[in-house]
C-alpha cells in the first residue's frame, strides 16, 4: 500500500520536474541569451595579503595606526565606525593619553545638563565613534542619494572583504569603450563613478584616495595611493574583528592540546582493542 502510493507520488514529482526541465531547456535554447554589463565587466578583487593573514597572522600595529590615519582624514568624512569604541584603539598601540586626545577630537551627542536640550560634548575613551549624519535621510541628501555604509564590519560583510576594500579603493578608472558601445545604460550617470570591483559597476562614492601624500604618515612610510589603500584595508580588518589575534593564538593552543588528547585517545583505543579482532 505504502509502496504503491509512494510510486504514484514519485511519478508525480518526477514527471512535473522532467516537464519543467524540458520547458526550461526549450526556453533556454530558443531564447536569445542576454549578456549583462555586470556579468561582463565586474571583476573579482585583486589578490591582497596582509600580516594578519594565515594561522600565525598578527596585526602590524604600525600599519593599523597608518590605516586609522587614513580613516580619520579621508573615510570619516562620510563613513561611521559605530561598533568601535575609542578605548579599543589602545589595542593598536595608542597609549591612554593618545586615546583620550583622539576621543576628544570627536564630538558625541549629549544632553545639556542645564537645559536638557540635545547638544554635543568632546568624546571620552568609553564612547563609540559617533555617527556622521543624524539620520539616513541626511546621509542621502549629502551623498547623491546613497547612504555611506558603516565601516566597522565592512571587511566581514563582503566576500573576501579586505581584498574587496583594497581593490575598490584602487580600482576607479574610466569606463571601458566597450561598455559605452554595448551597454550605454550601464555607463555611470551624473554623480556616479565607474569601478569594476563594485557589484553593479557604478557607485556614488567619488575616488577617495587620489594623490600621493594625501595623508601624512608619521612613521615615514611613503604614502602612495596603493599604500594608503592597503593600510586602511588592514585597519578595517582590525575593526571588523579586533579579537582576531587572540582567536588565532587561542586556536593554536587548543589545537595543540587536542592533538595530544587525540593521540592518547588513539593509543588507549588500540590498547583496549588489542585482544579483540574486529
Amino acid at each position: 500500500m505504502i509502496r504503491n502510493l509512494g510510486i504514484l507520488v514519485g511519478l508525480f514529482f518526477t514527471g512535473v520536474l522532467l516537464y519543467s526541465f524540458l520547458m526550461g531547456a526549450y526556453t533556454y535554447l530558443t531564447e536569445e541569451h542576454v549578456e549583462t554589463a555586470e556579468h561582463m565587466f565586474h571583476e573579482h578583487p585583486k589578490s591582497f595579503s596582509q600580516p594578519s593573514d594565515g594561522v600565525f597572522g598578527r596585526f602590524d600595529k604600525a600599519q593599523l595606526q597608518r590605516g586609522y590615519g587614513v580613516y580619520k582624514e579621508v573615510c570619516s568624512a562620510c563613513h561611521s565606525l559605530e561598533h568601535v569604541a575609542f578605548r579599543d584603539l589602545q589595542a593598536i598601540g595608542y597609549n591612554e593619553d593618545e586615546v583620550k586626545a583622539i576621543a576628544a577630537s570627536f564630538q558625541v551627542p549629549a544632553v545639556d545638563p542645564e537645559t536638557g536640550e540635545a547638544t554635543t560634548r568632546d568624546g571620552l575613551p568609553a564612547d563609540k565613534f559617533p555617527a556622521v549624519y543624524p539620520n539616513d535621510v541626511a546621509a542621502r541628501a549629502a551623498n547623491n542619494n546613497a547612504v555611506p555604509p558603516d565601516l566597522s564590519l565592512m571587511t566581514k560583510a563582503r566576500h573576501n572583504g579586505p581584498a574587496y576594500v583594497y581593490s575598490l579603493l584602487v580600482g576607479y578608472q574610466n569606463p571601458p569603450k566597450k561598455l559605452a558601445e554595448e551597454f550605454p545604460d550601464s555607463m555611470p550617470g551624473t554623480g556616479l563613478h565607474y569601478n569594476p570591483y563594485f557589484p553593479n559597476l557604478n557607485l556614488a562614492m567619488a575616488p577617495p584616495i587620489t594623490a600621493e601624500g594625501q595623508v601624512s604618515y608619521a612613521d615615514g612610510t611613503k604614502a602612495t595611493v596603493d599604500q594608503m589603500s592597503k593600510d586602511v584595508a588592514a585597519f578595517l580588518t582590525w575593526t571588523a574583528e579586533p579579537k582576531m589575534e587572540k582567536r588565532k593564538q587561542t586556536g593554536l593552543a587548543v589545537l595543540a592540546f587536542l592533538l595530544i588528547f587525540t593521540i592518547l585517545a588513539y593509543l588507549s583505543y588500540r590498547n583496549i582493542w588489542a585482544d579483540k579482532k574486529h
Binding site: 514519485g10 514529482f13 522532467l18 533556454y28 561598533h83 566597522s152 564590519l153 560583510a157 574583528e241 587548543v254
Partner: protein, 440 residues
C-alpha cells in the same frame, strides 16, 4: 532489554548500593553506555557519529545558554548586541563562533549519521522506531537552526525569515493569513524575532528529550552493524565500556580537532558575508540563500518553475520540499529488501552512490544563484531524488539478488574457523539460508 550475557551492575561500595536501591540511576547508565550494554564487535568508524551528534547537541545547548545571557532579542538592538558579544563580552567571540560553527558541525555529523543509516539500512525492522525518532530530531534541528540564524538580525537573517515563512503563503486560501500569524505581522519584525528566540531556546530541550527516546529505542534491539546480520551469540559482541567508550573517545578527538580548526581559523567560512550587514527591510540582497545545510532542499524548492495544470509552481515547490523530507519517514516500508547492509546488495550499491552524488549536486545548486544552468541541473537532480526513494528503492528490493551473508558477526570478523572460535554457535544459522535471512 539486553542480551542474556550482558554483565550485570553489581555495586560494591555501600553508598552505591544505597543509591541503587533508591534510585538506580548508576544502573541505568551502566546498562546504557557502560559494560552492561553488549555492542556488535565489528562497528566501523561510521558508528561514532551517534555519540558525536549527542556531543554536538550538548555543545550547542551550553554555548547557547551563555550567549542568551548577553544577547537581546529586540529588532532595534539584536544586531548590536551580537557585535557586543563579539567585542566586549569576555570570550564572547569564542562562544559565538562555537555556536555558529557548532550548528554547521551538528548538521555535518547528523548527515553522516543519516547516510550511514541509508547505506546499512539501519531503518529496517526491528529498528523503525529509532529511524522515525531520528527523523523527528532532524526536523526539530532544522527548525531550531533556521530560527537561530534569524537571531543576529543581519540581512540574511531577515530575508531568510521572509522567504521561509513566505513558503506558507503558497498554501491555497489560508496561506497569506497563516504567514501573518506565524510572523505576528506582515513582515519579519520584533514580534517574529521574539518568538523565534523563545522557540530557539525551547526546541533544543525538546530535541534532547527525543534523543533520550531515540537512545531508548536503540537499546531495545541493540545497535545494528556493518554486516546487517543480527547478534546471535556472546562472541559477536563486546561491552560498550571500555571498547566503544575508547573508540568514541578517539573519534571525539578527531572531531574536535576539525571543529577547532574551522572555529578558530575559518570561523566565517560556512556563513554568509551579508549577515554582517544589519537587517534592512528596504534593501534586498542580490542572492538570498539559507545556510548550507538547507541547500539541497532549497534547490528542490526552486526547481519547480512551471505551473502544472491548475497547481502553481510555488505551491508545487513547497509541497515537493516538504515531501522530500517527509518521505524519509516512510523509508522502512519503501525498502523491503530482507538484507540490511549495502555491502551485500550489489544492485542497491551503485544507486546509493548516485544518490549521494545527486544530493551533493542539489546542495551546490541550492547555494548557487537561481539562474541557468543551475535550475535545469536541480530539476534533473530533484527528479532523481524522488525517483530514488519512491520508485528505484522499492523496485530494487524486489528484483535484487543479494550476495551471501556471513553466518554471524563472529564469522564475518574472524573467518569460519577463527582463533577466537565461539563456544556455542547458533546451529540454525548456516551459510545456506543466510543469504535469504529476513530482516524482520
Amino acid at each position: 532489554m539486553s542480551f542474556p550475557w550482558a554483565s550485570q551492575y553489581n555495586p560494591t561500595h555501600p553508598a552505591m548500593k544505597w543509591i541503587d536501591e533508591r534510585l538506580p540511576l548508576p544502573r541505568l547508565v551502566y546498562n546504557a553506555i557502560g559494560a552492561g550494554y553488549p555492542v556488535p564487535r565489528n562497528l566501523n568508524y561510521f558508528w561514532n557519529f551517534g555519540v558525536l551528534a549527542g556531543f554536538a547537541l550538548v555543545v550547542q545547548i551550553i554555548s547557547g545558554i551563555i550567549l542568551a545571557m548577553h544577547y537581546a532579542p529586540n529588532a532595534l538592538v539584536a544586531f548590536d548586541s551580537t557585535e557586543h558579544i563579539m567585542r566586549d563580552v569576555n570570550w564572547g567571540w569564542m562562544l559565538r563562533y562555537m555556536h555558529a560553527n557548532g550548528a554547521s558541525f551538528f548538521f555535518i555529523v547528523i548527515y553522516i549519521h543519516i547516510f550511514r543509516g541509508l547505506y546499512f539500512s539501519s531503518y529496517k525492522a526491528p529498528r523503525e522506531m529509532i529511524w522515525l525518532l531520528g527523523m523527528v530530531i532532524y526536523l526539530l534541528a532544522m527548525a531550531t537552526a533556521f530560527m537561530g540564524y534569524v537571531l543576529p538580525w543581519g540581512q540574511m537573517s531577515f530575508w531568510g525569515a521572509k522567504v521561509i515563512t513566505g513558503l506558507f503563503s503558497a498554501i491555497p486560501l489560508i496561506g497569506p493569513t497563516l504567514q501573518e500569524w506565524l510572523l505576528g505581522g506582515f513582515a519579519p519584525d520584533n514580534a517574529a524575532l521574539n518568538r523565534f528566540f523563545s522557540l530557539h531556546y525551547l526546541l533544543p530541550f525538546v530535541i534532547a528529550g527525543v534523543v533520550i527516546l531515540h537512545v531508548w529505542a536503540l537499546h531495545i534491539p541493540g545497535s545494528s552493524n556493518p554486516t546487517g546480520v543480527e547478534v546471535k551469540q556472546e562472541s559477536d559482541t563486546v561491552p560498550f565500556h571500555p571498547y566503544y567508550t575508547a573508540k568514541d573517545g578517539f573519534g571525539l578527538g578527531v572531531y574536535l580537532v576539525i571543529f577547532a580548526a574551522v572555529m578558530f581559523f575559518a570561523p566565517n567560512f560556512l556563513g554568509h558575508a551579508d549577515n554582517y550587514i544589519a537587517a534592512n527591510p528596504l534593501s534586498t540582497p542580490a542572492h538570498i540563500v539559507p545556510e548550507w545545510y538547507f541547500w539541497p532542499f532549497y534547490a528542490i524548492l526552486r526547481a519547480f518553475t512551471f505551473d502544472f495544470f491548475f497547481i502553481e509552481a510555488k505551491l508545487l515547490g513547497v509541497l515537493a520540499m516538504f515531501a522530500s523530507i517527509l518521505l524519509l519517514f516512510f523509508l522502512p516500508w519503501l525498502d523491503r529488501s530482507p538484507v540490511r547492509s549495502g555491502k551485500y546488495r550489489p544492485l542497491f550499491r551503485p544507486f546509493f552512490w548516485v544518490f549521494v552524488v545527486v544530493v551533493l549536486i542539489l546542495g551546490y545548486c541550492g547555494g548557487a544563484p537561481a539562474e541557468e544552468p543551475y535550475v535545469m541541473i536541480s530539476q534533473l537532480a530533484s527528479a532523481y531524488y524522488f525517483a530514488h526513494f519512491l520508485i528505484i528503492l522499492p523496485i530494487i528490493s524486489s528484483i535484487e539478488r543479494p550476495d551471501p551473508l556471513p553466518a554471524s558477526i563472529t564469522e564475518a570478523v574472524l573467518g569460519k574457523d577463527g582463533e577466537e572460535a565461539p563456544a556455542a554457535i547458533d546451529t540454525t544459522a548456516t551459510t545456506g539460508d543466510a543469504a535469504a535471512q529476513p530482516a524482520e
